[in-house]
Every structure is written in structure tokens, then in C-alpha cells.
Amino acid sequence: MSLLASSLLGPFIEFPFMRRALVATLALSVGCAPIGCVLVLRRMSLVGDAMAHAVLPGAAAGFLLAGLSLPAMSLGGFVAAMAVALAAGFVTRATPQREDASFAALYLIALALGVLLVSLRGSQIDLLHMLFGSVLAVDDAALLQIAVVASITLWALALMYRPLVLESFDPGFLRSVGGPGARAHMVLLVLLVANLVSAFQALGTLMAVGLMMLPAAAARFWVASLPAMAALSVAIGAASGAAGLLLSYHAELPSGPCIVLVCGGAYIVSVLFGTRDGIVTRRLLATSHLTR
């Protein structure tokens, strides 16, 4: 095998944990990146990070009830994040307040509650750190979980595509014709929480949110429509996963940050050289125009 091929493929051939990490990253991209695109278009880009903190009270409750039991804390975390997401969604629909403010308010309440609950036990355990895994340590159960969530996500997004798009850009119209705007909105939030929480546990918060938002933010500089953005962001996420893992392998760097930084590199390249509104591209193309 040539040197290039062996350094690109070798690590994946030799080590099962590398293969798993690659598959996990791919599955994560498939599930999270399309949702990231919708979040970007709805100006909800910071929600992912908020969700990472919203899991705390649930995990703390699980810890208080069942000790250091990972299943209990994970379930609690999921329930807490879902409660925050649905409550924020409800506030957004029932009042004039916009989504960014309602999410911010509710995740902060959840975080403070979580800190309070943890302090009741008296110990200084970093629960969130315990709850969140690493891409190098993905076991069969975690892999299955991400894959299942990704499949359900794709299926649900396809099902709800039209009402979701309408609800995103003209909710008034959808309401006036009696369309399922509220349902589409809630489905989006449920998918968001399901993807994020399962990804947190398997891969850690940095990778989960990073792979959800960065490829989506980058894809916007190449394609316009939502389906095209979703497809491209999945591709960017998967490619970044592979490249990041290889970088972590050959250059001795921690894997999670590596993968996210490769995504970040893709984002910067897109901002500068993207064919659709890239900074450098625009400057280069601004030379001539048509007569009509």
C-alpha cells in the first residue's frame, strides 16, 4: 500500500476503536447536521450549548435518587432537556417573546436548579463531566443509540418538511390556514433534544454541538435551499470527522477538539471562499456585470 493510503486508511484498518469513532461521527452528522441547518435558519444557533447545560438538573436528580448510576442520570438529563425545550417552545408560541430569549431564560433556570441539587449532596462531583463521553470510547450501545436517533430524525424531518419550512418562514400564514405549525415546532424541538442528549453521552458536548452547528453554518456559503444545505452539512461533518480522527492519530492531539476544529477550518474556508457570498469570492467576482 502506498504511503499516503497507509497513513489515511491504516489507522482505521488496524484499530476497531478508530472505525467505531468514524461511524459514530458519521451517524452523528446524519442526525444532527440537518437539524443544525434548521436552527441556523431560525436563528436558534446558540440553543445547542444551552441544552448542554439544561441537562444538569435532570442528571442531578438522577444522582440524588440513584447515586452514580449512568442510566439514571442519562434519563434524568434527557427529561430535563426535553422539559426546557418544550417549555421554551410553549412560551415562544403563547407570548410575543422570541425563541432565543425563552431558551436563554429556561436553560439558566435549569442550570441554577441543577447546581443547587448537586450542592445538596455536599460533594464536588462534576456530574456533567461524568455524563459526557468521548468519541474514542464509543461502545456498541452508544453507537446503536446514535444510529437509531439519526434514522428517526431523517424520517421525521422528511415527514414534517413542508409544515416545518412554512412554520419557520411564515407562521402567520400557516396558522391562518390551520396547518400543524405547533406540532411541527414541537417535533423539531424533540428531535433537537434527542440528538443532542444522545450525542452528549456518547461523544461529549463539544463534539455534539460542534458537529451540529459548524457544518450547517458553513454549508450556507455554498448552497441555498434547505435540503441542499442539509446534505452538504452532513458531508462536511463526516469528512471533518475522518480528517479530525486522522489528525488526532498522527499528530497526537485530543480527538474531540481536533474534529471540531477541522469543522471550524471548513467553516472559515467557506466564509472566505464559498461560492455563495464568500468574502474573497465576492471581491473576485465583483468586476463585471450584465447590461440587464
Binding site: 476503536f17 468521548s134 461502545d139 488526532s248 474531540g256
Partner: protein, 297 residues
């Protein structure tokens, strides 16, 4: 005779002269002994005359390398009747402390007379207590120092020493038996502790360090790959890596390397009271048992 009975006898046989001392003249205060760390303190407690108060500067579950002396510690040193240290470079900070505290008495070096192993880049390897045979030396040095300081109780001290050494020897035989059940070639483990050189030499176990593993919170893929490769190529049978905080990562490495995950090994400090290594003898027993269990296929 059972251990407790011996202890009672040891203490009981000291009671008479103590009673005599009490009735005969004005009360002398209980001996105050300060040891540098918990393992030494435990040994001293076993070997000391009745009523002695033994304290450790670096307590159970604490790390001697990051120890920060406090004013209370200095006071304890100043008021001590006897101070004992491990030696062999284990306590770099003790001489300064002793000088500052104003303690004028003897500083007993428990490892006196032991031929040290080389500790790599640290100079000598100070963890001599990991070999039970050398622990007899420790006991001897400690008891001799006690007898010199409190000559009226030398008989009691000698009895305690004999009793303790008998227990040490018994445990030594037990450990050899446990580990002997595992073929020599299979006695290879990886552990991040750097402290088991004497144990390895005495009982025929290879303790390997994880190659190129920095204890950062998030490892690189290269580090994980290297560890797995090392496990496979060096025929390692078990890993003891408590310093990796992600339990799942340890499981993944063990699963891919085909090794078992051992429990916790105690190297430099006792566990808290109630824990599996609350005394020196229990610490050695726990380590040996954990190793033997992990190494048996």
C-alpha cells in the same frame, strides 16, 4: 494465637509497668510520635508502646508530592517526642520543616540500611515498603528507635515487634502463594503508578508504564492506539488505570486489547478508615489480591 489476642497480650503486658509507673511517680505524658505519611504512621502505631499518639503529616488518601505544610503541622512537629520519615528521597520537604518547627530530637529514617533500587529519573526509588521482606527492616528500625527513646518499655516494644514481624512474614507467604498461582510469563500489568518497583522485583510481577500517556483529560487517538498496541505486543494481562477519568474509555481500551480491568492499587497512602487499605498490611493484601484476581484468566 489470633492477631487480636496477641495485641491484647502485647498491650496487657505493658499495662503492669505502666500502672507501676503511674502509681510510683508523677504522670509522664503519652509518647507523641509524628510520621511523615500514613503508611509509616500505621506501622508506628502497631509498634509503639501503649498509649502512644501517632499522627501523620500526609494523611490517608493524600498525595505526598503535593503536600502543603500547615502551621498546625509545624506545631505537631515541635511537640513531638519522636519524628520518623521514610527516607530515600521520599520527603523532600521534611528537613526544612523540621528546622522551621524547632524540633530538636532524633529523626528516624525507617528505610535505614535498605539497598535502594534505582528509580529512573527520580534518583532512588523510595517505595521500599512495597516489599514485605523489606518491611521487616522498617519494623526493626522503628522499634530500635522506640527502644532507645523509651528504654523503660523496651520489653514491651520487643514483644510488639516480634508479633508484627510474624504477621508481616505470614502475609508475605500468602502473597507469594497467590501470585505463584499465575505463571510467571503472565504476570504483566500496566499501571500509571510509578511505585511498584520493589513489589515487582520481590514477587515477580512486571509493572509496565503506559507508553506516552499524558494524564490529560482528553487523550489523542494516537495515545489510545499506542496503549492498545503495547498491550498486545507486550503480552499485558491487566490494566490498572484509575487516572483515566472516563470509565468507558478504559473499558474500550481493555476490550480492544483483550485485557482485564483491575481495581485500584494503593501505592503511597492508606485509604480512609473503612476503606480496603486502611492499614499497611491490609493495603499489601488488597494490592496482591487485586493483582492475582486480575491476572488469573
Amino acid at each position: 494465637m489470633s492477631v487480636n489476642r496477641r495485641k491484647i497480650l502485647c498491650i496487657g503486658s505493658a499495662a503492669l509497668p505502666a500502672l507501676h509507673a503511674l502509681t510510683a511517680r508523677a504522670q509522664t505524658p503519652a509518647p507523641r510520635i509524628v510520621a511523615s505519611f500514613s503508611i509509616l504512621a500505621d506501622m508506628a502505631q502497631e509498634l509503639a508502646p501503649a498509649g502512644a499518639q501517632v499522627t501523620a503529616l500526609v494523611g490517608p488518601d493524600a498525595d505526598a508530592h503535593v503536600y502543603e505544610p500547615s502551621p498546625a503541622d509545624a506545631k505537631r512537629l515541635a511537640q513531638a517526642d519522636l519524628v520518623m520519615i521514610n527516607g530515600l528521597g521520599f520527603e523532600g520537604w521534611i528537613e526544612r520543616m523540621v528546622k522551621v518547627s524547632g524540633y530538636r530530637g532524633t529523626v528516624v529514617v525507617a528505610s535505614n540500611g535498605i539497598q535502594p533500587r534505582s528509580g529512573g529519573h527520580h534518583g532512588d526509588d523510595p517505595h521500599a515498603w512495597q516489599d514485605l521482606a523489606l518491611a521487616r527492616r522498617y519494623a526493626g528500625n522503628i522499634s530500635a528507635a522506640f527502644a532507645q527513646r523509651w528504654p523503660q518499655q523496651r520489653n514491651e516494644i520487643a514483644r510488639c515487634n516480634a508479633d508484627y514481624v510474624a504477621r508481616v512474614d505470614s502475609l508475605d507467604r500468602q502473597v507469594r502463594e497467590w501470585l505463584g498461582a499465575v505463571p510467571r510469563a503472565q504476570r504483566r500489568v500496566i499501571t500509571s503508578h510509578d511505585a511498584f518497583g520493589y513489589f515487582g522485583a520481590a514477587y515477580g510481577v512486571d509493572f509496565l508504564a503506559p507508553q506516552g500517556w499524558n494524564t490529560h483529560s482528553e487523550p489523542s487517538a494516537a495515545a489510545v492506539a499506542r496503549l492498545i498496541r503495547q498491550i498486545k505486543t507486550q503480552g499485558v494481562r491487566a490494566i490498572f488505570m484509575e487516572n483515566i477519568s472516563d470509565r468507558r474509555l478504559v473499558e474500550r481500551i481493555a476490550s480492544e486489547g483483550g485485557v482485564r480491568i483491575g481495581g485500584t492499587l494503593y501505592s503511597d497512602a492508606l485509604s480512609k478508615p473503612g476503606g480496603p487499605a486502611a492499614t499497611y498490611l491490609r493495603l499489601m493484601e488488597h494490592n496482591a489480591r487485586s493483582l492475582a484476581t486480575a491476572l488469573q484468566a
